[in-house]
Subunit: 106 residues, 2 copies
């Protein structure tokens, strides 16, 4: 099983909207081929990132979703906010760092 | 739900034993009160750590396990190797960094 761990540092004034977007997500990713599970993690330690953790049968399944129109559509609210910040030359509301893994034991 | 993410950098010559220990783990933690799930992740990107990801009903359930004799017993092989490296003034076979989270969306 493949695991994608997106480590997202969220600006303090964007935290509320960031959490709201996940709490109200449409759940479209759950219907993707090879999707297994997703968990969104709020850091308990100051200075640590939020984590979007998704599990897939294979890395190809994950990549197929990232390359899909569903991915763009599912992230349209966040991407819109990023574009607006860039247009207004403001600091980005978040930045992310993707780490990838293979689940080798459970 | 609480999530403990132990990020473990493993020396190259210890990787095989590290993986073996998880593949042959006794599964004792699974019987602990409040235990939900555990997944062990092998990094796909060079220089990134292994991850031991465990999910618990509450942080108190996790802490209770860490403070238990079962935790010491379950880690006795790894702790033995760490002690031996220290006694022989060799580099530690691994070092770990614990991050803690609350699962706020799924």
């Amino acid at each position: 099983m493949f695991c994608a761990m997106n480590r997202i540092t969220v600006q303090e004034d964007y935290v509320e909207k960031f959490e709201y977007m996940f709490k109200t997500r449409a759940g479209e990713v759950d219907k993707e081929p090879g999707f297994v599970d997703v968990k969104i993690l709020r850091p308990k330690q100051p200075g640590k990132p939020y984590i979007v953790l998704s599990f897939w049968e294979t890395e190809a399944n994950f990549q197929q979703w990232v390359d899909s129109g569903a991915y763009m559509k599912g992230h349209s609210r966040a991407f819109g906010d990023m574009k607006q910040a860039a247009d207004e030359k403001r600091q980005m509301p978040m930045r992310s760092d993707m780490e990838t893994f293979e689940v080798f034991a459970e």
